[in-house]
């Protein structure tokens, strides 16, 4: 819908700018406060810009707290989530491009897991990990979230757009099945994989509940679990809290702003037919 009236356009622009500012306000306040000294951050009335900007809180995260370890653990989880994405892609290809006995039943299992609320499986998944002796271990944190049924489903849908003839031609040329997958299918799937890589990175970087449930030692904590611990232990040290939050949020925002074009284009459900 296009509104042509000049005054209404000015009003719309003004409203957007105001509401955009309000939405961004928590981020702005987080960044400004993270650079303030302990005393200044609690000052009433608050200063808007830090009087003596300091990076001390960020230094403290690494020197006095274990944020180095938390960062390492988070990066390990991010790395394995990418392997999980590869497994999701393989499964999506398997379901989309092969015919085999029992395919419908196995795919139905995938769809069922997609529809069940996370809270239903939270307790029993913990019991399963406990039986396998994986509680308080890195595999225990990584394995339950590795496969995402919804991603298998999306990738399978995408595979339908790749012509079978292309795969047949590669087979006639004598290419092996895995060679076809890695050299032909993955490059052709770039549009959907680009979105998936970004969303998987964001989801694994942000993962919180599962690491919290499974990890007991702080040697296994991720950034989000460590940040939650920091919040409990430094209740009024808001400068430090804001620095910890900024350290979690800024890398994600940077990644997102660089690649946002791919993510945002993935949201057209209008293309989905009823």
């Amino acid at each position: 819908m296009r509104i042509r009236n000049r005054y209404s356009r000015i009003i719309i622009n003004a409203l957007l700018i105001i509401s955009g500012f309000l939405v961004a306000l928590p981020f702005i306040w987080m960044l400004l406060s993270s650079l303030k000294t302990d005393r200044e951050v609690l000052q009433i009335p608050p200063t808007i810009f830090p009087e003596n900007p300091t990076f001390q809180h960020f230094v403290d995260l690494f020197l006095n707290l274990d944020f180095g370890t938390y960062l390492m653990n988070t990066l390990i989880i991010v790395f394995f989530s990418m392997i999980g994405l590869l497994l999701n892609t393989m499964a999506g290809y398997g379901f989309g491009k092969y015919n085999f006995k029992g395919k419908e039943i196995v795919f139905a299992v995938v769809l069922i897991t997609m529809m069940i609320p996370g809270q239903v499986t939270m307790i029993p998944t913990y019991l399963v990990l406990n039986q396998m002796g994986l509680t308080n271990t890195m595999p225990g944190i990584i394995l339950p979230g590795l496969i995402v049924a919804f991603n298998i489903f999306l990738i399978r849908q995408f595979m339908h757009t790749i012509p079978d003839g292309l795969i047949e031609a590669a087979r006639l040329d004598g290419a092996g099945e895995f060679y076809i997958f890695f050299k032909l299918i993955i490059p052709l799937s770039k549009p959907i994989l680009a979105v998936q890589v970004i969303l998987t990175f964001i989801a694994s970087w942000n993962s919180f509940i599962w690491p919290l449930i499974v990890a007991n030692d702080d040697g296994l904590y991720t950034l989000s679990v460590g940040l939650s611990l920091l919040q409990d232990q430094n209740v009024t040290n808001y400068g430090l809290q804001m620095a910890g939050a900024a350290f979690m949020v800024v890398p994600i925002l940077v990644v997102f702003i660089i690649f946002q074009k791919y993510v945002i284009e993935g949201f057209n459900v209008g293309g989905m037919k009823e």
Binding site: M1, V23, V41, Q119, V120, V128, E177, F256, E274
Partner: protein
């Protein structure tokens, strides 16, 4: 390639994912169903033979448990206020974005989407500071216009509303993008034809835009409703269900029973109640949608 190899290949592709999914998601669904009829707890975890079937006792107990009933009431409150608020504001933002220059639209959709990709603990840390009664920015701004300090997270009713504001802020980005894509795919000629017929903006909005995006609206309402029925992270990180269970939700209740009190069977029973509620709510949505289309 021989036929044995051709038979085995598909399984090489799907099995790694299917096995992991079976162990960590599908099997747990079945376990959940089974233990919801038992008294499984921490003792039972150490010695499985001591676990006993208790029939529907867990379910009977749930509906006599005041904390659970309160959590259900709170969840209902979140849904009734949160869903209309989230759907309408994301639609209005999308509508505004479709009426400004490309540069404005591209910049602001990124800003509105940012909260959706922000870590929930970081959100809790920042909003906990903003909502702080003494040092928070919100109460300071209110004090400038002579409004008394608001107990954002310490009053049963206000705390629920504070969490709703936070959740709408966090979740609007995705719905906004879905609406925006739908609005932008409406052919311009519809509006041009309407203008020739002398339609004003209200006619265009109600007769062209809203009907044209009805599938996106349906999609957003269903996913938003399911999301709010499972409202969990916000009360978990902001209030832990307090004050006096005033912000507790069904999903948080399940977590507390499972991981704070180690009442695995009881928690699993609650999770099935939630599941049934989600299914019923979704089924009603689809029914209504069908009726509309007839």
């Amino acid at each position: 390639m021989n036929s044995f190899k051709m038979k085995i290949t598909p399984f090489l592709f799907i099995l790694p994912a299917v096995i992991l999914l079976t162990i960590f998601t599908f099997l747990p669904i079945i376990i959940s169903l089974v233990i919801s009829f038992t008294d499984m707890d921490l003792v039972g975890l150490g010695n499985l033979s001591s676990v006993q079937f208790v029939g529907v006792e867990n379910f009977v107990r749930l509906f006599q448990d005041e904390v659970f009933l309160q959590s259900m009431g709170n969840t209902f409150f979140y849904v009734v206020i949160g869903v209309p608020l989230a759907v309408s504001t994301s639609f209005i933002i999308a509508l505004a974005l479709s009426n400004v220059s490309n540069w404005m639209s591209n910049t602001f959709r990124v800003i509105f989407y940012m909260p959706s990709i922000t870590n929930i603990v970081a959100i809790a840390v920042v909003w906990g500071f903003l909502y702080n009664e003494e040092y928070g920015l919100f109460n300071y701004i209110l004090s400038l216009v002579n409004i008394d300090a608001v107990p954002w997270l310490n009053d049963i009713l206000i705390a629920k509303i504070s969490l709703i504001i936070l959740a709408v802020w966090k979740s609007n980005g995705v719905s906004m993008l879905i609406f925006l894509a739908a609005i932008q795919s409406i052919p311009k000629t519809y509006y041009e034809a309407a203008e020739i017929d002398g339609a004003n903006w209200w006619h265009k909005l109600t007769k062209i835009t809203i009907p044209s995006v009805s599938f996106a609206t349906f999609f957003v309402i269903v996913t938003t409703l399911i999301g709010w029925l499972q409202f969990f992270e916000e009360p978990f990180v902001m209030t832990e269900g307090g004050p006096l269970n005033g912000t507790n939700s069904i999903a948080l209740f399940i977590y507390q029973e499972g991981f704070q009190y180690n009442e695995f069977g009881y928690g699993a029973a609650a999770s099935f109640v939630l599941f049934v509620i989600v299914i019923i709510a979704t089924a009603i949505q689809f029914k209504l949608r069908k009726k509309e289309n007839l």
